[in-house]
């Protein structure tokens, strides 16, 4: 009863790759430990209150989003920046291509941004002869490998130093270098030239601050500052859900973001950027654009329950704590967003028919919701989406057998006598050899259904000859 639409062969391939399994499990495990060390009650006693407040602020921002978008826009423009509204990926790319032509720009450097991954910006730009270079080390590696990020905050998590050595030799023409410190130096050297030569710096945004017209970026390497300091033009591409009401609210969000993502009380660089450089300032970009991207977000907003998935601040904690992500990794998810948050937003962006299996690929363990810094109720949303898939499949006449199974099940569960009888019949078929040993397989015709899937990786208990209710009757008769 494997879900027929899911890429099981790919799952098995990932599960069988012991090196990759170790890499995923240990990297996410370390991130879990680091997070825990920075949110323990003795170091951050108000952690739960901060989460409460962060969730409440995101809720207020999302539910009054039109107001904060306009406030943001007028504050950006009052300081000489420009806001560009984009309905979709195409409009964002089109604007950037036009801007690059106007500015006679060839080289663009980029700060890691899930939003630009979402809209495939680099590919768009490349098609127009523009070179867009990723500058976060992990993203740089991913770009050279022509791959996509494996993890929201650790994009190259799946690659070893040896993979990186091969990649650098092949793509950069450098001598094979397997020491990560030296590999980092190579990247520093290559990218330093790019930073100094770039015409336009492109970033995402961790937050957009409505009362300030500011873009907030957090990075560790300094590439974010490079891209927003050296080029003449800074363009931030951000989903409309990134709004927070006030600069002062950053005191809440910044305390949570770094801790949840990488176990840092603050990431190394937190940039609060409000418009182009001012007349009295020594340096910085002369032009400042913010692309406000819809790309399906306004559609998500219409769903009162599921709109909370737009609270996400992309910390990646739900990935690290998800036992499913930790088994299948990032590339078995159908879209750029992986893990529990990907499970929840991908079907909403792409349509549930795109990957109907996705909401079912969860044990509903709830670890994600427990660590989400903005308190998104991810398991609840996963359940909602399951219900939607079932409804849609019912309309299309798909999954007939499963539906029939649950119809029969429901009918039986409301008829205790027949339920008991069915159990007795089952125990005749699955009685085992009488020595209490569990079963390796099941006889035909049960071997075609869920029991086959069960016994593909586990043994099955033999059904006891008497159920609890039968034993209970004997017990009560004896005690009387």
């Amino acid at each position: 009863m494997e879900m027929s639409t899911a890429p099981h062969a790919q799952f098995r391939e990932t599960l069988a790759d012991s090196g990759l399994q170790d890499a995923i499990y240990s990297a996410t495990g370390r991130l879990m430990e680091k997070r825990l060390a920075t949110i323990r009650p003795d170091v951050l006693p108000d952690y739960q209150e901060l989460r409460e407040r962060a969730g409440a602020l995101k809720k207020l921002a999302i539910e009054n989003l039109d107001y904060y978008l306009e406030q943001f826009e007028s504050n950006v423009e009052a300081r000489g920046g420009r806001v560009v509204w984009c309905r979709d990926a195409g409009e964002a790319a089109e604007f950037l291509v036009k801007l690059a032509r106007e500015k006679d720009a060839r080289l663009l450097t980029k700060v890691k941004s899930m939003t630009t991954e979402e809209i495939g910006l680099n590919e768009h730009l490349q098609q127009h002869g523009l070179e867009a270079v990723e500058s976060d080390l992990g993203e740089f590696i991913v770009q050279l490998a022509r791959s996509r990020p494996y993890h929201i905050v650790a994009p190259a998590l799946n690659l070893t130093r040896y993979d990186v050595a091969d990649l650098f030799t092949r793509t950069l023409g450098v001598e094979r270098e397997t020491v990560p410190e030296n590999q980092t130096k190579i990247a520093r050297r290559v990218l330093r030239e790019k930073f100094l030569a770039a015409d336009i710096g492109i970033s995402g945004a961790n937050f957009l601050v409505a009362d300030s017209g500011a873009v907030v970026l957090v990075t560790n390497e300094g590439n974010g500052r490079m891209c927003t300091t050296l080029p003449r033009v800074h363009v931030a591409v951000a989903g409309i859900e990134k709004l927070i009401p006030r600069a002062q609210d950053l005191a809440v969000f910044l305390k949570l973001l770094g801790r949840s993502a990488t176990g840092q009380p603050l990431t190394v660089y937190t940039s609060f950027l409000a418009g182009p450089r001012r007349a009295n300032e020594a340096d910085g970009p002369g032009e400042f654009y913010v692309l406000l991207l819809d790309n399906g977000r306004s559609r998500l907003l219409a769903d009162r329950e599921k709109r909370q998935s737009l609270y996400c601040i992309r910390c990646g904690a739900c990935l690290n704590h998800c036992p499913v992500y930790r088994k299948i990794g990032g590339h078995n998810y159908p879209w750029v967003y992986s893990g529990p948050i990907g499970t929840v937003i991908s079907p909403q962006f792409l349509g549930i028919a795109h990957d109907p299996w996705l909401p079912f690929a969860s044990s509903l363990c709830g670890a994600c919701a427990e660590v989400c810094p903005v308190k998104i109720d991810l398991p609840k949303l996963i359940l909602e989406l399951r219900g939607e898939v079932v409804k849609a499949q019912s309309r299309e006449g798909a999954s007939r057998l499963e539906r029939l199974g649950f119809r029969v099940w429901s009918w039986l569960m409301r008829r205790p006598k027949l339920y008991e009888l069915a159990g007795m019949m089952g125990s005749l078929v699955l009685s085992g050899s009488g020595d209490g040993k569990w079963l390796r397989g099941v006889p035909f015709p049960l071997s075609a259904g869920p029991l086959k899937a069960w016994t593909s990786v586990r043994d099955l208990p033999p059904l006891p000859s008497r159920s609890f209710r039968q034993m209970w009757r004997t017990r009560q008769a004896g005690s009387r």
Binding site: F360, L364, S456
Partner: protein, 241 residues
């Protein structure tokens, strides 16, 4: 007159692990309760609810509500099924005011087994004896929806002869997840192996939990791997003496 509790044993215990239900009854009787078993009970509806079949889940939940309506206390040897009633029935009956009212009346009387012992009966030492080393698995819904963490450990701590040795990942999911286990067997199986490695490292001869479904998953994988580690419900350990 001693208080009366009604056992809601869950369909898994009824059909697969009757010894767990009997053990729970033994413990409750030993500490002075009169135990009954509402015979019309079947399932709480969770399998359908968690698979997206809300209508079917609701039908079965209605039946469950009726069966349990008259109970003073309902004791459930499963965090997951207890939580289905106390945390998810509201949502299931959001548009059915009469049943919602029935849910509100029932909820405060529904207790997961270990919570009942500690918070209602106020008993920590049930007079059990179990000679061996055990490790404890935190079942997800019990842990995260009902806050069951220290309670079972306190109960195990009072069992004569028992040594509790914690594994390094007690809170990680065993991989069961209801129909997830058969829709995604390779992932589910992989999760159980990670858990088992952690169990094996403790050197325990049994893994103890408060949810029969996790024990089904863990024991199925232990058995497949030929590992002689038992998977026991807390009630079975507390009933031993």
């Amino acid at each position: 007159m001693p208080a009366r509790v009604s056992l809601f044993v869950t369909c898994i215990v009824d059909q697969l692990f009757p010894e767990v239900g009997l053990a729970a009854a033994d413990v409750l009787e030993r500490i002075g309760y009169t135990v009954d078993f509402p015979e019309k009970q079947t399932c709480c509806g969770q399998p359908a609810f968690n698979t997206g079949y809300r209508d079917e889940a609701r039908e079965v939940a209605c039946h469950c509500l009726e069966v349990l309506a008259g109970a003073d206390y309902v004791v459930v040897p499963s965090g997951s099924c207890a939580s289905m009633i106390t945390h998810h029935y509201d949502e299931l009956f959001a548009r059915d005011p009469a049943r919602l009212e029935a849910v509100r009346r029932l909820k405060p009387r529904v207790w997961e087994f270990s919570k009942f012992l500690l918070e209602v009966a106020g008993v920590e030492d049930v007079g059990a004896r179990y000679d061996g080393v055990v490790t404890f698995h935190d079942s997800c819904h019990g842990l995260r929806e009902l806050g069951i963490k220290e309670g079972p450990r306190r109960l195990l701590g009072r069992v004569q002869g028992l040594t509790l040795r914690e594994m390094d990942i007690p809170e990680e999911c065993c991989g069961f997840g209801g129909t997830f286990s058969v829709k995604f067997p390779s992932i589910s199986g992989g999760m159980s192996r990670t858990k088992i490695e952690s169990i094996v490292k403790t050197g325990a001869d049994a893994v103890v939990g408060v949810d029969a479904s996790c024990l089904l998953q863990l024991r199925g994988a232990l058995s497949r791997d030929g590992l002689p580690i038992r998977a026991l419900h807390l009630a079975q350990v507390l009933a031993a003496h």
